[in-house]
Symmetry: C2
Subunit: 421 residues, 2 copies
């Protein structure tokens, strides 16, 4: 039996375009809020930190990003000196990988208290090429021939030719659009179903004070929005933005040493499982299926036990795809499932109550931990207007980078509310 691991504090900064806020300021904001959430005045017991980021090199800092960003906090006595920091990077799945590392600190018995933090800035008002550079890192730049050939073939099968030379931004939205087109062709999924999911998440985001977009949209408005790459319109796509999120995780023994008020708000990590992508055949399940099945097995539960989820809706099509991969509905039924209202606030299994990436925002290396923050709030009953009822088991699915129709990396985390005792 693996030792038990608990989340005792989480935080998420407001997401959005924050060009005036430095990496160090974002780090401080998320870290101090996570400490406060765990009822701590300083982080003296933290034994290790996992720092997730993708784009700091574009702003001039590489190699020791976490150490650089935590250094002022060390000087001020708010972060313990001499403890190790591990910098991790996995595209849009980065922050979940940081959490996985911290989880392993505790699960291995190497630490009693560990920090996972993800910090990102992707908005560069004076130089959009630098934003592009950050996202370009999410696909093989050394030998692009392999994916160019893959996408050309996939485009033909999908009935949506791959035209990378037409691109005005990253090719990622094109690849998601192609996946959507393939799903529509194979299963009869409709653009309106995608729009209904987008409208649902914009509604959720309107109830989340941290969300980048807090306006509501009807499905008709989503459909009428500016086209990005058919069938995707702008409001079906995650925006560019900045932010940070963090979580403090600890052992059972350490938890027992904490005040009752902290113990009662703790959330248990029932599973942390990851997987990697490959150039798969188009109708083979994606890598999140692999990670999810591992996570369900680790937690000893079935998909139907999950009450709420945050999934990686880089586009609203992705949410349709992921609810299938997570076995919330049958393959091919994701569009109907989302359109049924099952995944909306008040539905059977609310998904992306935070607003998801399309509304809450998507600062790449922070996104995974923002999902954890949302789920922890929900499990504790602290989610305000967007509170789910009676949620006990929650799942986060976070994917990063692309390898054909797969992401390059996927992380699944399953959290459980503690029963009052």
């Amino acid at each position: 039996m693996m030792p038990e691991v608990y989340v005792i504090g989480t935080a998420c900064t407001p997401f959005g375009k924050r060009p005036q806020t430095s990496f160090k300021a974002l780090t401080r904001e998320a870290y101090l809020a996570a400490l406060a959430d765990a009822g701590m005045a300083d982080g003296r017991d933290i034994a290790m930190a996992w720092f997730g980021n993708c784009g700091m090199g574009t702003f001039g800092q590489r190699n020791i990003r976490g150490q650089v960003c935590l250094s002022p906090l060390v000087r001020e006595g708010l972060f313990p000196e001499r403890i190790p920091t591990m910098n991790v990077e996995g595209g849009c799945a980065t922050a979940s990988q940081a959490l996985h590392g911290a989880w392993k600190d505790i699960a291995s018995g190497d630490a009693q208290l560990s920090l996972a933090i993800g910090v990102e800035k992707t908005f560069v008002p004076d130089d959009p090429a630098r934003t592009q550079e950050i996202f370009d890192g999410g696909i093989d730049q050394l030998d692009p021939g392999e994916w160019l050939a893959y996408y050309r073939d996939a485009g033909e099968v999908s009935g949506k030719p791959f035209q990378p030379d037409d691109k005005r931004g990253t090719i990622f939205m094109d690849t998601y659009a192609m996946q959507a087109a393939y799903h529509m062709k194979r299963y009869g999924t409709t653009q309106r179903q995608i729009a209904i999911g987008a409208a649902k998440n914009h509604h959720h985001g309107s109830l989340n004070p941290l969300a980048q977009y807090r306006f509501t949209m009807t499905a008709d408005e989503v459909l009428a929005d500016r086209p990005i790459s058919y069938p995707l319109t702008r409001s079906m796509c995650a925006p560019i933005g900045d932010g940070a999120a963090a979580a403090l995780v600890c052992s059972k023994d350490y938890l027992a040493s904490l005040p009752r008020g902290v113990r009662e708000r703790a959330v248990k990590i029932r599973a942390s499982a990851m997987s990697g992508g490959k150039y798969r055949s188009l109708d083979e399940p994606g890598l999140s299926r692999i990670a999810a099945d591992r996570a369900y097995k680790m937690a000893g539960i079935s998909p139907s036990d999950i009450d709420i989820a945050e999934v990686h809706d880089a586009t609203s099509f992705c949410e349709i795809y992921q609810v299938e991969m997570l076995r919330f509905c049958a393959e091919g039924q994701g569009g109907a499932y989302v359109a049924s209202g099952a995944t909306a606030l008040g539905g059977d299994r609310p998904v992306n109550l935070s607003g998801g990436l399309v509304s809450k925002g998507h600062p790449v290396g922070a996104t995974g931990l923002s999902m954890i923050h949302e789920l922890v709030l929900q499990l504790r009953g602290e989610a305000g207007e967007r509170q789910a009822k009676n949620a006990r088991l929650a799942l986060a699915e976070n994917g990063g980078g692309v390898v054909g129709f797969d992401e390059a990396a996927c992380a699944i985390t399953i959290l459980e509310r503690l029963e009052p005792n």
Copy 2:
């Protein structure tokens, strides 16, 4: 008690200037050699990979570096599909951090077999500025004011003024030179002692077929070499180079399932401990002391139990400093200790039998695992002409980045030869 973790296969490519060899080719070379060393035809049992690299962004690839480099091996069935890869980065300590992650996979019970690999290219024949860019990531680029002020003060105390405007390359050699000057002033360490250590490592490197430099040098020749930053001459400094190194680690149960020939060559990881740097006062022990003390405690041994070590001699002064921090000799006695011959092949406690960074070479993100490779060879009795006698316990010290007189990150690994049974 933490579960036991074993190294069953290691590999290191030849280090050197290899501009024609791609990241993917270096990855393949180290990975396949580590597999072969573990007696495996493919890596089907590997459950997770930790990929260390610092500079690939300079060559156009960020975010999903490991996934990109392992992708061809997945396609060929040599690396298992769908398993997760964690990209880690910690300056020159990167590869040891990758090993720490893999160690934790096993120690947590999350995996039975895990891969750590470090891959680096730092030599860019047509554009030295890009080499510089890779190394610049090892210091705070967001707010350089803090270290500029620290080094100005340290320079005054050391009697070696900090003149960053004079620099022709990275400022790292200047900071090491300043540390050397401080040590010379405080303890009477001499430039000749540093040169004796450099000559010793060049001798060791001459016996290592993988070393970048295989020529010998006398201490007089080292002293007469081109000055870099007094007291350091060129042959006291690690060269620019490319390479990769890897290790396969596994659980006790998995080890028991392997053929006798693999089991008998396995090496046990007795400790893996890390620490972080800070802007310390000049006479306060460095961060490797913290990590080493943690490692000794974890292994339940004392410094005198260590038979051989690989330490991070980015410059030959660093070796003098590190043997003190590791408690191989008293503080201030590192120069005399190294000059005594104790750390040479045939001495009481050979250090850097591989040739160390100054002779074996230093492809940043691969260096830590090259240390592990050397120590595993030594413990197995497979080190050829540079074989230490009767080594049972071995220590690797790997530091990365700089924060004042500290590195930003340090990792200590203690390995033990298995007794025949």
